[in-house]
Symmetry: C2
Subunit: 248 residues, 2 copies
Amino acid sequence: MAGRPAEPEVIWARPERSGRGPKPAFSRADIAAAACRIADEGGLDAVTMRHVAAELGCGTMSLYNYVPRKEDLYELMVDRVSGEYDLPEKPSGDWRADLATLAHRARAIMHVHPWMARLMSAVYGFSPNTMRYIEYSLSCLDAIDAPYGEKMELVAMVNGVVTTYVANELQTAERTKSLPWSAEQEHAVRMAYLGREIASGRYPRLAAAFAEDSGPIDMEAVFDRALARVLDGFDSRRPGTSPRPETS
Amino acid sequence: MAGRPAEPEVIWARPERSGRGPKPAFSRADIAAAACRIADEGGLDAVTMRHVAAELGCGTMSLYNYVPRKEDLYELMVDRVSGEYDLPEKPSGDWRADLATLAHRARAIMHVHPWMARLMSAVYGFSPNTMRYIEYSLSCLDAIDAPYGEKMELVAMVNGVVTTYVANELQTAERTKSLPWSAEQEHAVRMAYLGREIASGRYPRLAAAFAEDSGPIDMEAVFDRALARVLDGFDSRRPGTSPRPETS
DNA sequence: CTTAGTTACGTACAACGTACGTAGTGCGCT
DNA sequence: AGCGCACTACGTACGTTGTACGTAACTAAG
């Protein structure tokens, strides 16, 4: 009988291979790769145990030998993508620039895997690659004399900004992948309602906000400003660093 | 035949009552209330069309007369909870304090409805009460001379901080409501793995972070600091306002 | 060699969202 | 008044999901 306990368990604590029995046909990496491939093509909702098993070329239930619960499959996916950072051996020494670069890299990765942002706000666990990522983030702050608690808070905030903003950018596109209509249609309908509501005069400031300019929004610029503000907020509490670099 | 189109639609644009036929047994508010009651008790995963219908005392499919898709039920829930703010008639004039108060109120509301944070990062639509909320947020910034685009970005950032942090605080508790084990068990198992991993020496800074102090974390204080940093970041770009009030 | 743990996988079940058909109801029209 | 149609109500049913369970084959440890 398969070892599928009704107790909480961390997949990373379970050995990938334990001597006895026939050798497994796949590795965890194979499975993570298959799941990510499916998500990239068909959206996160296309990631089902059946699909992943089919992609691997095995029976559905065989998958449960490797992945006790579907949530663990998600963790595998997050960890795999978290391994796509090509982290430098050592940070440059300019913590602000290093963290900003890292945040931009994270944003880029999440654009390649649009389902990642949604997953990251649903799965909270530590995994090998996420720990590696956090360790590197902390190493960027080595030069700063502050308790690690404070550094962790900053790292968490930067990560929060990245996932929040990228999720906002991408969720419509991701969601409509498993819907019978397009993201553009959805957006059009919602904007039509918003326009009607705004025209009612009940929300004058909202109306003014939407009347203003309204050229296409540069999402990366918005992200940049948000990120800069967070770093500014940290900066302003520790005098002696360069006060306010231009946003460019 | 029921009017359930395969086209995108905003539930708020559909009239709640349209003359003809027998009068509906429930209002949208009834349905939202029932769904929220279920979510409060059994977690978000307990909110199914069947459960909500049963709570209302009607057949499952009757619900589809009011709510064309399940997503719309979610929007109803978000809107209802967004109506729980008791927004003052007019902001006090101190935008920083007003926004902070609002953020704290939002955090408190999401603690009462632990599923709210997760829903808000999944549902992106404007609804009557969310628009009221945004309008009020903007009105807090009336005294500031800045383009509305900039104000909107600040409001979005504050909201982002709230949902991100509250979601982080609450997601484990929420998630384990539909799991056969407790949040404490889950946490214990994950911490055990983390401890073992940290002891390996591969993540020295992470290890230092967890070794440090480690009294119970005051989540509200963490939230406060994050919020303050965001407001600081906005502050630092517009000289002339009070530079840096104490975090309490 | 034995044996116990592992892999593989088909079957099966409960729960989900929801398409569809049918029956009943009452407003608005002529 | 009375016809008709839009609306409500709801049972049935389908496809899809996660996954519990049983069985058969396999292989390393004793």
